[in-house]
């Protein structure tokens, strides 16, 4: 190799850098959009309960412990797919799950809960206004709120068991520390 041999190494070096970037990029989902509400205090609200429940769901419920806030609706097919995952999470009693029943008919929501089970500590019925404050643009969406009542994470779309194990539970554990 002559003295200018290092020039011929440049393409390989550039490619190596790119490949490292690609590998790091594989772990990122490009469809996740950041929420401007991240690290902001959760909006103040007070939602009425579904029929038969004693208490609704309000922002006061979210302080003092880490909590999961899940928006759902009986008309939403992905929510149906997500529900068993939430039921399983609720059984571990790892973190309380609060439900916002979004733009739903009360009787349908009750039938839905009766059919699929109730993973929620409390449920509030929302006609859509509180959803706007939370920046909801589709159900299901799930938020993690820390002890001080700040939103720390937003998940768009149905949660899977993998999401729970890889993202939700580690973050909950970190926030509880």
């Amino acid at each position: 190799m002559n003295k200018r041999g290092w020039i011929f190494l440049i393409p390989a070096a550039v490619f190596a850098l790119l490949a490292v970037g690609f590998y790091a990029g594989l772990g990122i989902d490009p469809n996740v959009l950041p929420s401007p509400l991240i690290d902001q205090p959760a909006p103040r609200f007070a939602l009425p309960p579904l029929q038969g429940d004693a208490q609704g769901f309000s922002s006061a419920d979210l302080t003092g412990h880490v909590s999961l806030v899940n928006t759902f609706a009986s008309w939403c097919a992905p929510c149906r797919a997500e529900h068993p995952v939430l039921n399983a999470l609720a059984q571990t009693k790892r973190v309380p799950i609060y439900g916002i029943d979004y733009k739903d008919k009360e009787d349908l929501a009750l039938a839905w809960i009766a059919e699929l089970g109730n993973p929620y500590t409390r449920i509030g019925a929302d006609d859509g206004r509180v959803g706007i404050d939370w920046g909801v643009y589709g159900v299901p969406e799930t938020f993690i709120v820390d002890r001080d009542g700040r939103i720390r994470y937003k998940h768009v779309g149905p949660l899977t068991q993998a999401d729970i194990e890889r993202t939700i539970l580690p973050l909950v554990a970190r926030l509880e520390r």
Binding site: M1, P11, G21, F22, Y23, G25, L26, P30, N31, L33
Partner: protein, 663 residues
């Protein structure tokens, strides 16, 4: 049963490819004719078995065998047969099988049409080609097997995305893949040359037809994709700088540079290492495109359902092939002897400029495509890079390229005379000035950019015509003599003429559509008429019609100019019940100078419909020009120097001596 045969054939093809990747390479190193002799039959057998697998899958689609998970997810018994068949490559697994099928096809073609290749070079080319085959066959079998069964089989399939049910799109992927995968041959030749440590004019001549064929297919594929976007998506646009469009455009840019650079190797034995590097990069960018589309690292309308395992696997393949090739390049390329010297102003110099500009343009597109991903990795920020970035970076690089493209063919090899060449371009200067002035006079000073664009197109077209006229001595001699010279002109020269003239036409089309498109969005009721760009579009009626697997709201429109009827237009809004999806049936009336483009949208609730009407001047030229470019490539492909036995590597002895002297 057929499915199992297909699956089994794929496994056999993998085994054969593995042998083909090793034995001929060992044979070439030991100069063992028996081992090298493995390469050709293995390449043919590999193709045979991949073809069996491919047609087995196609059979499953044709008979709607929903016991295959792949068919059930992507087809439906109600689809027309054509879309059942093209459904094979409308999904990730099937399109990977098409990819490997075309790879094996090229391997078999090299095996069949390489009588004049030295046995060692042939053995090495086919072995490297088989290495690529092994990687992708493993990828299919381990992560993307289209032959997986579904138990119990569903009664019917989920169907194909309605916007993909289109004749143009049916043949866009095969064309694109012919291009992508065709560049694998140039890549294999480059690797074989690095292993041998020898690049000479004969090598360049052998690579050229494969590069040309791939380039033609890619040009056609990109043009078809853009045409499809134009007439199905219903936005009146034809290029969106989408990451996946870019992924096909980057290999095209570098492949174009490669075509030109290989000419310098062939004629003048110069620019060898650069040509090798371009061959590696062109195919690597094709692989990168595969990675970007299928790993889900970028958001794109084209993205296949992403799966992290597949992403890691393709990244691994990309690292092996590109990384391995570039390391081999770093090791061996310094030993390749440089060739003929040339002055900066010369044909070689012009081709170097062409290469620099094309490579920079490709780098710009690469940056724009990867920037969102890299920024996300480094800084966790989401950005998207859109057309403004490309108009600010890509367009300024294209302008000097087009200016130089006109002058380059006027320059002789070794040393040229720029003033003399410019002197011969008097007609082109006149045409340029005329185009600019006429544009400004006709449309006003507002369209300064458009005047520049059309002037550039006129400059390139006039210079290309001048060059041809000079070669034919068109105005100096009787017509029969000119005719004879035209027949005797090398096909490669005709190829260049069509390709460069086609480029000028494309530039004019892009300019016209960017500068003067008119758009009108109206709410229209039957009986109303709308004006656009001097045309009148009368909406007579909207009725419900039934297609083979869809229902549609179909508008009956009349296109009028000065009160006279010109054409009927029938845009449709289609609804596909199986897929629960909608598609737009755009109505386009073209007179080859401009398009009138009509789209019918949803009812507005008061008895009217949302109508989008466009007037797109010069847009048809984009595809006419692209077709001329691909035609140029095809004509060049028939040049007799590719058909007759190449000069049996006469330059070889001296080249070898020079390599040894350099070492």
């Amino acid at each position: 049963m057929v499915n199992e045969i297909g699956h089994f054939a794929l496994v056999l093809a993998l085994c054969i490819a593995a042998l083909q990747a090793v034995l001929p390479l060992v044979g070439a190193a030991r100069n063992d004719a028996a081992l090298m002799g493995w390469a050709r039959p293995a390449a043919l057998a590999q193709f045979l078995f991949v073809a069996i697998a491919f047609f087995a899958l196609m059979h499953a689609y044709a008979v709607s065998d929903f016991s295959l998970a792949n068919v059930a997810a992507n087809s439906n018994s109600m689809k027309p047969l054509l879309y059942k068949l093209t459904g094979v490559w409308s999904n990730h697994e099937g399109s990977m099988l098409l990819w490997v099928f075309i790879l094996a096809l090229f391997g078999a073609a090299v095996a069949l049409f390489s009588h004049n290749l030295p046995p060692q070079l042939r053995a090495r080319v086919l072995a490297v080609q088989a290495m690529i085959g092994v990687g992708f066959l493993l990828f299919i079998l381990l992560t993307s097997n289209p032959f997986l069964r579904l138990v119990p089989a569903p009664a019917d399939g989920a169907g194909l995305n309605p916007i993909l049910q289109d004749r143009g799109l049916a043949f866009h992927p095969p064309c694109l893949y012919l291009g992508y995968v065709g560049f694998s041959i140039s890549f294999c030749f480059a690797i074989a040359a690095l292993i041998e440590g020898r690049v000479d004019p004969a090598w360049a001549r052998w690579v050229r037809p494969w590069t040309l064929a791939a380039w033609c297919a890619l040009t056609t594929g990109i043009a078809m994709g853009s045409w499809w976007a134009y007439y199905t998506l219903g936005w009146g646009g034809w290029w969106f700088w989408d990451p996946v469009e870019n992924a096909s455009f980057m290999p095209w840019l570098v492949g174009t540079a490669l075509l030109h650079s290989a000419v310098v190797v062939e004629k003048r034995e110069a620019r060898k290492t650069w040509t090798i590097l371009l061959a590696i990069i062109t195919f690597s960018l094709s692989l990168l495109g595969t990675f970007l589309v299928r790993s889900g690292v970028l958001t794109s309308v084209h993205a296949f359902a992403s799966d992290p395992l597949r992403g890691v696997f393709i990244l691994l393949l990309l690292s092996c092939y590109t990384g391995g090739a570039l390391i081999l390049f770093a090791w061996r390329a310094p030993q390749l002897a440089g060739g003929g010297l040339f002055a900066p102003i010369s044909r070689e110099g012009a081709l170097v400029l062409n290469n620099l500009l094309l490579a920079t343009a490709a780098a710009t597109v690469l940056l724009g495509t990867l920037y969102p991903l890299l920024l996300d990795v480094v800084a966790h920020q989401k950005v998207s890079v859109g057309p403004p970035f490309y108009s600010m970076t890509f367009v300024p690089i294209m302008i000097p390229l087009l200016v130089a493209m006109a002058v380059g063919p006027m320059l002789p090899w070794k040393r040229g005379d720029l003033p003399a060449a410019l002197g011969r371009l008097k007609f082109a200067f006149l045409a340029t000035a005329a185009a600019a002035l006429v544009t400004l006079a006709a449309t006003g000073a507002r369209s300064l950019g458009a005047a520049c664009g059309l002037a550039l197109a006129a400059w390139l077209l006039a210079a290309t015509l001048t060059e041809l006229a000079e070669r034919l001595r068109l105005f100096a001699g009787p017509l029969p003599a000119v005719w004879r010279r035209a027949l005797n002109l090398p096909r490669a020269s005709w190829g260049m003429f069509f390709a460069h003239a086609g480029m000028a036409v494309v530039i004019a089309g892009i300019t016209g559509s960017t500068a003067w498109t008119e758009e009108k969005i109206v709410s229209g009721r039957p009986g109303q008429a709308f004006e656009i760009a001097g045309y009148t579009i009368a909406l007579d009626r909207v009725s419900e019609v039934a297609g083979p697997d869809y229902t549609a709201s179909r508008a009956d429109m009349r296109l009028l100019r000065d009160g006279r009827g010109i054409a009927e237009m029938h845009p449709e809004k289609r609804f596909y019940p199986v897929e629960n999806g909608a598609a737009t049936g755009v109505a386009i009336h073209t007179n080859l100078l401009s398009d009138v483009y009509a789209v019918i949208g949803d009812p507005d609730g008061t008895g009217g419909y949302v109508l989008r009407l466009y007037y797109n001047p010069l847009v048809p030229w984009i595809w006419l020009g692209a077709a001329a470019m691909a035609l140029g490539g095809l004509i060049s492909l028939t040049d007799r120097r590719h058909r007759i036995g190449a000069p049996a590597r006469r330059a070889r002895a001296s080249a070898t001596a020079r390599v040894q002297a350099a070492e």
